[in-house]
Symmetry: C2
Subunit: 102 residues, 2 copies
């Protein structure tokens, strides 16, 4: 069985440029905010987003490549998780201040 | 005498998208960081930046339009100031967490 996996930056390789760019978009902040609101692992399809599937796929990828979220295959679905611990370690207070901003 | 003035967004019109985008650049964060380090008003020419004058002019404008800095004419020079109070009011903790990230 082939387990497909998606690339994630190591914690130390997460950059402030990447994180700020990733969060500078309302759809991506909505994804992060929904993950922060207690959905520790959530399939892409379960998010409430005002965009097409292909657009949302793009936004999830930007977040993953910036180190903001994890994406793991569960069967054919992709489940997403917030890298809160990694972000808080790299940039203390940043995630919370952005989440507060809405 | 004509006093030229530059446009600044009102405090309430400062958006999180604009601020995060503006700060997602190392040269712009360097400007903000130099202003935060005690230079409350500083002429563009006085910044230590690794870019050409026209590039730095662009970066200053992005910061002003996002509501991160003020720019005021003093004679023929433009002086820059950090809108710390406005930013802290709009997005508590954000500026400090970004400044800490370097």
């Amino acid at each position: 069985m082939v387990v497909r996996s998606l690339e994630h930056p190591e914690r130390d390789a997460i950059t402030i440029d990447g994180v700020l760019s990733a969060l500078a978009d309302p759809v991506r902040r909505s994804i992060v905010s929904q993950l922060a609101d207690g959905h520790s692992e959530q399939a892409c399809i379960a998010f409430d987003l005002p965009v097409t599937k292909s657009t949302s796929t793009h936004h999830f990828r930007v977040l993953r490549e910036a180190g903001v979220i994890t994406q793991r295959y569960r069967g054919t679905a992709i489940h997403n998780g917030l890298r809160r611990e990694d972000l808080d370690w790299r940039f203390p207070g940043l995630l919370d201040s952005v989440l507060m901003a809405g």
